[in-house]
């Protein structure tokens, strides 16, 4: 009986393994086909996982539409503007701790003094950061984070990734985000504060998300390009680069069907000084 049972179980497990093998073959085959066609079709060297990323992007977009946006809209509807600004300032002030740490790690000592002054002023005179007094007296906010520090240290950005429930990043952005989360006090004060922080982030991204919706023909590609350019611009502190590979195309008006060089957008990215596109 026992033997029979165990034989049955063996058969069952064998079927299961076979099933899994078939499934994985189909799955892997599917992946291979997709990635092959995609590489042929899209060939964006910053985004080798486009197939996966697009799926995650669609997933995140749905979660945002059905969960995050309604909550964020309600928050914006019930909360007076001055409270929203206060909440934004509060979390922005806590982030200034990260800014100072990353200033030092990037050896930007003058800027770190500036940002320490900002932090001190806003934490005291600005009532724990709820009022951004520093900007009013001319101490503008700088944007620094650990991803930028890694960039300054020469770490390449790696592939573009869309992480479920988190959003766009790059391989380098992952340790960047972990370090920044660890260095930010709001990570240690409990879930309610973190929820408000998330809500504040989403509410402040409303303008950007609306713009993407209105302006993009392909929201995924639009987000990817805008994100990569924005991060590049921050990492290089807006150092303006005039690298015009599309000039070849411009100047080749007389000789059509020009050499089919790699026309990845990285080469035609132009960046501008000291700016960011973070939604406010």
């Amino acid at each position: 009986m026992n033997k029979l049972y165990s034989g049955n179980r063996n058969a069952k497990s064998q079927r299961n393994i076979l099933g899994m093998l078939i499934a994985s073959t189909i799955f892997l085959g599917g992946c291979a086909t997709n990635s092959a066609t995609e590489q042929q079709q899209v060939a964006n060297k910053d985004d080798p996982y486009e197939h996966f990323n697009r799926k995650m992007y669609t997933f995140n977009d749905r979660v945002d539409n059905y969960v995050a946006k309604p909550i964020s809209d309600s928050y914006k509807w019930v909360t007076p503007q001055f409270v929203q600004t206060g909440v934004y300032n509060f979390f922005s002030n806590l982030k200034d701790i990260n800014v100072v740490v990353n200033d030092v790690l990037q050896a930007k000592f003058a800027q770190s003094a500036h940002d320490t002054g900002r932090l001190a002023l806003n934490t005291t005179m600005g009532l724990a950061g709820f009022v951004d007094v520093a900007t009013q007296v001319g101490l503008e906010k700088n944007e620094e984070d650990f991803d930028q520090t890694l960039a300054v240290w020469g770490v390449p950005k790696g592939s573009f990734l869309v992480i479920p429930l988190v959003g766009p990043t790059t391989v380098r952005g992952i340790p960047g985000a972990i370090f920044d989360t660890a260095a930010n006090p709001s990570s240690y004060v409990g879930i309610p504060v973190q929820l408000i922080s998330l809500l504040n982030t989403r509410a402040n991204a409303e303008g950007s998300l609306k713009f993407i919706n209105e302006a993009s023909l392909d929201p995924y590609v639009f987000t990817r390009e805008a994100f990569l350019q924005w991060r590049h611009n921050l990492a290089t502190d807006g150092k303006f680069e005039v690298s015009l590979d599309f000039d070849d195309e411009l100047n080749n008006d007389v000789e059509p069907a020009s050499k089919s060089t790699d026309i990845s957008t990285e080469n035609i990215t132009l960046t501008a000084p000291e700016v960011n596109t973070e939604a406010k």
């Binding site: 390009e225 807006g238 599309f246 195309e249 035609i268 960046t271 406010k280």
Partner: protein
Amino acid sequence: MILKKIQLTAIFIFCLFATIHTSAQAESAATAKQVVEKFQTELIAVMKNGKQLGYAGRYEKLSGPVSNSHDLTKIARIVVGKEWEKLSEAQQQKLVDVFIRLSISSYAYNFKDYSGEAFVFDSEEETTRGGVVVHSHLIIPDDKPVKFDYMLKEKGDSWRIINIIANGVSDLALKRSEYTSILQREGFDALITKINEKIDNYSKL
């Protein structure tokens, strides 16, 4: 009543001056900086009357300024990259036509009203390949300024904008990624349909 009359007279004089100014500039070849500044002035003027003009009015007013300051044909060509050569002449023409309408409508939609914004010229630099970059920024009251860098190329005897980099994000690079991706994934007709949808949305939103 008297105040209104004075205001109207002032607007009339301003318009007259603007016309003379425009034609005077058209005669002599304008520098890259002049092309950008003229366009920015026209944009701000439309924003100031944005509400009264409505979308259709803004589109009409901006049609000339956008077409005359940008090299939209060249931009349309660059944003599809290598795919341009694969398009038939009719398709190329169609793409240029809808692209021109999209460009004007996106200006008409995004610059709809005025709350004290002003463009400020920062500097100008020449690129190695004979282009010029005009650096400027838009001041927005109670908000962070937006950096606008215009890249211009010479077309005939005048300068035309071929790219705008807003806060470090290149419009040309962004569009090129989108357009080539759509062309490769979904084809020419899908691209035209999508552009037309955008134009339609801009007019309704």
